[in-house]
Symmetry: D2
């Protein structure tokens, strides 16, 4: 709610480069180069409050957003970034109550964003073949408070999905074209599908598979995020940027004639 | 649900350039260059089905996503596009149940995306001084089925917001810096704010106002959407693109010492 | 030199959108929506002077740059734009005295830029199979005053180049990979090659061919030009931009072991 | 010419990340992690040849291009990159014989590119107030073999230029607007000016000064270079890129009425 409670995940903020998503617990300490933080003193206080470190430095206790949770997942894999997750959710039409199938859980970054979009009545069925990623994703989803809205399935998406009449399918695999026809079968008529891939070769194959599987309304694009350093009298784009994450492909299921 | 019912908004699809978001009603006709569409014949059929036009052309009846609703709003004003709406929702941490204040309803494109993200228990309080835009936005929100989750307020955001303890504030005005201190007052501690502006000069002033109002964790960026024409053996970015919509600024409310 | 002479090509400028590269001749008229221009009155006057139209409007007579000549070529084909031509010239190390082979003259836009870079002692040997393009290119090169520094060769580059010991090769063909081994033969040891192509598939094949032909120091990139509308207090990138022209690949010839 | 001679600067190439622009001299050694290179054995051999290191590794001796010289300048300052230098040269209409004034020599990277474009009959007059930069630039220009075509002037461009009737002016200063009226005076009628600046604030001021000084045909843009990793079956843009160098402004001198 509005007040910091035992066990809440908070965004502990010192400055732009020193901020952490941490669990606020009375009996644990959080160590930083600017001193040790003890959360006991701010339990019950409002978010946005200052907590002093052992070195008498000011830290702020802010509310983490979905974006903060995405950016702080444990990530043995490349994750889908918020810029891409945001448009995926809108293009898949995810809303509270929607049922989604995800092929390729990975670290669960996109899974948590989708779970937040469909909860409390919707659900994400997420397939992952690598058991160690299911463990990581599970921890990340629990931390974000959305594990109840996700079924992590230790199964190979290429063998097909158990679900039927699904509102949307998201594919984040190295060979997305191999699950396109399976995705077709589990989707409701007219419903959307999305796929994320870093290379041109992948999108050629994926789009080809989607056309063959009777998907329509195809679209492929990429989003480039360019950060601006806003500084009175010397505002400018920052020197270095992430130049590529991946291409997004979207389509909708047409029924066969 | 899965079947087309009287009064549903559907995405009527002929090809990539000829698709429309229309209301499926038994007694009305929809005229296209490829013939007249009558929806009576497909009532009760599943989404994804084909409807024949009077010229015997195939049209598909697909499910509109949030994105399709955004792109089909009546728009006397520049709208916030899905690429920007998606990241705004994640950076504002919008989830079912959240309460949001929006300064500048405009055509209601972003309003409908936010309403979809917070419904059914959340709410969007959207301020707009121009009465004709409230009318347009109202029609756009009704069409998208989210009017119940939005209060359109005919009032000047610069005079302040009536709401208190709000989870997030979104500003889409020509002079966002003038409402930043008002936004501060209506927000919960530690909660996020966002602002959208096309010019460098606006972001300099907005960021200055946010710093003075005790907002922290500031970030400004833009998203560039680059469409790819995927065609086996000749895949390439498309020749023309939208080179600029606007800059996004995000921050969080810190309490005063 | 500094004064306008009979037959000079000048940049006739009314405003940002109304400017033309025209030949200043005493006995001809140039018709615009802002009146007719007669150049007789400004012969012998300095560049930068005003000429009045028949409707008493001010037009300026400016000096055309290489860029203006490129942008005003007659173009039955897609041309290589100045942003790409500029880096090609630097990456190919073109300097006065250099000998260059070009495969694919097209409209001659890049040819004229290269000729300007290597004249008066250097030379461009440009191959083109389509006779009508040779005619167009010839007119464009004459207009830019560089026809003497170019040999337009009506021949198929895929059959090989007659020249030997060439300083640089530029390929602008739909199937560049087919001339890479021919280019290798006509180049000096250690010398650079460049290729321009719009699709991913082309660059994959071209880079493959270059590696097989013993080229080293390979690099592929694209340049995006983003125009800024500078207007005091409301400066911003322009809304629409050219999102893609083509990819540039560069390499250097290594001798075989 | 085609053969490696004593004192030539060569591009010594091991692989994409290990390449150096070095002077080939018989009596000096060049040390790398892959062994020591002695150039004596390849004097008189053609460029493109292999030289073995003391660890029996293959290194290639390639021809350096203008681009290689730019990228290897000693640089106590931020330099103007080839992508920007290329378009500056075309927009300024630089050709053999042209006379150019440059305000702000810096490390001399752009100076060397311009000198290469105007030599042997043209000349670059380059102003720099910081004596240590004149020394660095001097070394960089000598290395590139173009010192004879450049006058390095230890003087403040803001006090005006001594040259008259100049073909083009290039400004690379932190406060370009302060030299715009001086640049106007030294330019020929109708001739082009260019300015490079990293911030929005600078371009607003510069464009304002150019308009007040009677420059026309104004244009401001930036170039983004996006590198592509071409790898058969997995071609994609590279993950990190330089997101910003600076904005380029161009205009032409109109005579006063």
């Amino acid at each position: 709610m509005s007040f910091i409670s035992e066990g809440d995940y908070v965004l502990l903020y010192f400055d732009e480069r020193r901020k952490w998503l941490v669990k606020a617990t009375t009996d644990k300490e959080f160590h930083t180069h600017k001193g040790v933080i003890r959360f006991g003193s701010i339990m019950g206080k409002p978010y946005g409050s200052i907590v002093k470190s052992s070195l008498n430095q000011d830290f702020w206790v802010l509310r983490p957003t979905t974006c903060d949770f995405i950016m702080s997942v444990e990530r043995p894999t490349q994750i889908i970034y918020p810029k891409d997750a945001g448009i995926i959710i809108l293009k898949l039409g995810l809303k509270p109550g929607a049922l989604v199938v995800e092929a390729g859980t990975g670290s669960g970054a996109l899974t948590l964003a989708m779970a937040n979009a469909v909860k409390p009545d919707g659900h994400v069925y997420s397939y992952e073949v690598r058991p160690e990623f299911i463990k990581t994703a599970s921890r990340n989803l629990r931390k974000a408070g959305v594990l109840d809205y996700v079924s992590l399935k230790s199964a190979d998406a290429k063998l097909g999905f158990e679900e039927k009449n699904i509102d949307a399918v998201m594919i984040d695999l190295g060979d997305p074209w191999k699950v396109v026809s399976k995705a077709y079968r589990c989707l409701k008529g007219g419903a959307p599908i999305a796929s994320f891939s870093p290379t041109f070769n992948q999108i050629e194959k994926t789009v080809g598979a989607m056309k063959r599987s009777n998907f329509l309304d195809l679209e492929t694009f990429e989003l480039l995020l360019r950060e601006i350093r806003v500084d009175k009298g010397k505002t400018r784009p920052v020197t270095f940027m992430v130049g590529h994450t991946g291409y997004l492909t979207f389509a909708k299921k047409a029924l066969k004639k």
